[in-house]
């Protein structure tokens, strides 16, 4: 734990200092924080807004999507499960350099697959990654495709739902939908809860896509919060400032997580606590 906690404390301390890597940190009180809120820093509110947009789209979509896929992959009649599971996991294995090349092509306004498809259906084409309005949804689309890990966790969870429960339900004459609603979902709540928390923590810290594909553009429309921190820290060398920005994100994520935990009592079902 010390590996983690000490650096965290150090960065908290640094957030109250003027530290630009090359100098000795100097205590400056809350200055790093106030200049964010009073608008001296021109990117803060923008990147918060962009990140919120991403989180609100990404987290629910991601959960629903991967749950459905996991559920289908776990159905009894499906053959070749191993192959399907491996295939659905693939996008998260392929190195970002390769997958980003494909997405650049898929999203390409001129020759890309998506626009050719839209064009064939006589729908208006989009600029995807290259327009302020569509860049965040496009990145959400991309990230949904790399949902392998969440699917796998759901799958592992579905394996743990005791069969006897389903068998008992069939004896009671329950249909597929009722089994799903009254057995699968409640038994899965701890795992759904886990993926909700992890998905949110991860989504707030979205980074790689911005770094590789958009560099925060166009016109800062994908300047995600974590990318903004990285830029402040390693491109501008403003480590004190970057720490302050990071700790605000920390507080936000913490708040969201605490809310989730508080509400979890009413819907997360732990077998062991019954």
């Amino acid at each position: 734990m010390l590996f983690v906690i000490l650096p965290m404390i150090t960065s908290l301390l640094l957030s109250f200092t003027d530290y630009r890597i090359v100098n000795t940190p100097k205590f400056i009180g809350f200055e790093n924080y106030t200049r964010l809120f009073d608008g001296t820093d021109q990117y803060f509110y923008n990147s918060l807004w962009v990140t919120f947009k991403y989180v609100i789209l990404r987290v629910p979509l991601g959960l629903v999507f991967s749950f459905i896929i996991a559920f289908v992959l776990n159905m009894d009649f499906i053959r070749g499960k191993s192959v399907f599971r491996t295939i659905f996991y693939l996008p998260s294995i392929v190195p970002a350099v390769a997958s980003s090349m494909i997405w650049i092509w898929l999203f390409s306004p001129d020759l890309g697959l998506f626009n050719s498809f839209l064009g064939a259906l006589n729908l208006p084409t989009l600029d995807w990654l290259y327009a302020e309005e569509t860049v965040v949804p496009s990145i959400v689309m991309m990230s949904l495709w790399g949902m392998g890990s969440t699917i796998i966790i759901f799958l592992a969870g579905l394996q743990g739902v005791p069969r006897s429960l389903y068998e008992a339900a069939i004896v009671d004459g329950a249909g597929a939908l009722r089994k799903f609603r009254h057995i699968t979902i409640p038994m899965m709540t701890p795992i759904i809860f886990f993926n909700l928390i992890m998905g949110s923590i991860g989504a707030f810290q979205v980074f790689t896509e911005a770094l590789i594909m958009t560099q925060g553009g166009p016109n800062n429309a994908s300047l995600f919060y974590n990318y903004y921190i990285y830029r402040q820290a390693f491109q501008f060398g403003e480590m004190g400032q970057a720490s302050a920005i990071a700790w605000i994100l920390f507080m936000i994520i913490l708040l969201v997580t605490v809310i989730f935990f508080r509400t979890s009592k009413s819907w997360v079902f732990y077998e062991s606590e019954v």
Partner: protein, 457 residues
């Protein structure tokens, strides 16, 4: 309340001072001894760490050069090739007080670290050294924090020019771009020719009234907005005003140049938009997707390996014919325990002879003036090889040494932060959403407070 705050400040400073002095102390151990030649005492062998980036070819050449230096001088050198995210790695090392002795550095970091005293001032070393004359090297390559505080020179010279696929120009009956500054195309001629070279899917060029700009098969040229400063300086503008107080890009001459670049995309349809550029391969010239391109000499290394009839020329001019000169510096870190030896290595790596394969291969241009004028030396790199086609000596070498204007990276203070505002504003211009005038005037008041003038003046 105030007391509490002061107390917090005190605790904080104490903790931080402790952590950071701990890291500092443990390193400063033997620094003083190693320089004085202890009489009879056993000398610890000097070991230098040299950090650098670059592709596999550059890595090989630099590593070999370091090895030769080792053999020649007996000073041990540890090459540290950083394959990616160079600045993150170096920042971490500097913060942890384990910086290398010397190495490449991006210009922005070099200037700000230099200003904070983390880089060695080379001026005293240069002065003491009878073998080294500053005048032997190009005047434009020096990085200075202030007069008398020299933190280094470019690792290599990089100059801009026009590169083209000769066959495409001959086919279209377009005159080949001139290689002499005095004969450089003016802008209208340039646009005219570019139009002739831009073809749609039916083979009609951009001068044809039926030309379809939606379906372009071959672009007349590629003038990447990334290289826009070349047009700006050719129109007599610059990033900041001459006195270093104003935002030069918002001045009429710069706005005009930037608008002209945007017009290449959206009015004349001869140059790919940023969106279209994403679909262009590195091999656009060879595969006839693009007829001419504006780029730095480094591109020659890759072009030399491709199979097409490459030609070079000077950039088209707006007001005056000149070019942009670039090159991130190599620096010595202040924390080195062996400044004398580091300087020996620095000198060695600055000598074109040591890194000849990179210069011959087209990636770099030499730092020494003589290599641009002495025919015997020119023969060593710029004559008779594929990376340096006919006309290169004039179009790139002569133009760079005589009319090379330094990029803002050499001297503009706070450049990274200013660019963080300017780049998104210009995005709107490059995507055709606003005019250059509108975008730059709008961002000017935000940029103004960040302007701090020039280093080295």
């Amino acid at each position: 309340m105030r007391k509490g705050k002061r107390f917090a400040g005190w605790v904080l400073s104490a903790v931080l001072a402790l952590t950071f002095s701990l890291t500092a102390c443990s390193d400063s151990g033997g620094s003083s001894q190693s320089q004085t030649n202890g009489a009879g005492g056993k000398e610890e062998p000097v070991k230098l760490k040299f950090s650098f980036w670059g592709d596999t070819i550059e890595k090989k050449t630099v590593t070999e050069a370091l090895k030769r230096f080792e053999e020649k001088t007996g000073i041990e050198v540890e090459p540290m090739h950083v394959p990616a995210d160079y600045l993150t790695k170096l920042t971490t090392m500097v913060a942890g007080n384990v910086a290398p002795d010397l190495g490449y550095l991006s210009s922005g970091a070099a200037l700000s670290w230099g200003a904070d005293g983390k880089l060695l001032n080379l001026a005293p070393l240069i002065e003491k050294d009878p073998d080294f004359k500053k005048e032997d090297y190009l005047d434009q390559v020096w990085y200075e924090i202030a007069p008398g505080n020299v933190i280094g020179m470019s690792t290599a010279v990089e100059g801009y020019g026009l590169m083209y696929n000769k066959d495409l120009l001959l086919e279209a009956g377009v005159e080949l771009p001139p290689t002499e500054a005095a004969k450089a195309w003016d802008w209208d001629t340039f646009v005219e020719y570019a139009k002739k070279l831009t073809l749609d899917d039916q083979g009609r060029n951009a001068l044809d009234p039926d030309f379809n700009p939606e379906k372009i098969r071959q672009f007349g040229l590629q003038y990447d907005p990334y290289n826009m400063m070349a047009a700006v300086v050719s129109n007599g503008g610059n990033f900041l005003t001459e006195d270093g107080k104003g935002f030069g890009l918002a001045r009429p001459e710069a706005i005009e140049a930037i608008q002209k670049l945007a017009d290449l995309m959206y009015v004349h349809h001869v140059s790919p938009t940023p969106l279209q550029t994403k679909n262009l391969p590195d091999t656009a010239l060879q595969t006839k997707k693009v007829a001419m391109t504006v780029s730095g000499n480094w591109a020659l290394q890759a072009f030399a390996e491709q199979d097409f009839n490459l030609g070079v020329g000077v950039l088209p001019k707006l007001k005056e014919s000149n070019t942009l000169l670039d090159g991130a510096p190599t620096v010595i870190f202040q924390s080195t325990k062996h400044p004398e030896e580091a300087w020996l290595l620095y000198k060695y790596m600055a000598d074109p002879e040591s890194v000849l394969p990179l210069i011959e291969g087209g990636l770099w241009m030499p730092l020494k003036k003589e290599w641009y004028t002495n025919p015997e030396l020119i023969n060593k790199w710029a004559a008779g090889n594929k990376a340096h086609p006919e006309g290169y000596t004039e179009a790139y070498m002569k133009q760079t040494i005589e009319n090379g204007i330094r990029t803002p990276g050499f001297e503009v203070k706070n450049l990274d932060k200013i660019n963080a505002l300017v780049t998104p504003a210009l995005d709107l211009v490059w995507t055709g959403k606003t005019t250059a005038e509108q975008a730059l005037k709008e961002v000017e008041p935000k940029v103004q407070p960040l302007i701090q003038g020039y280093y080295g003046r």
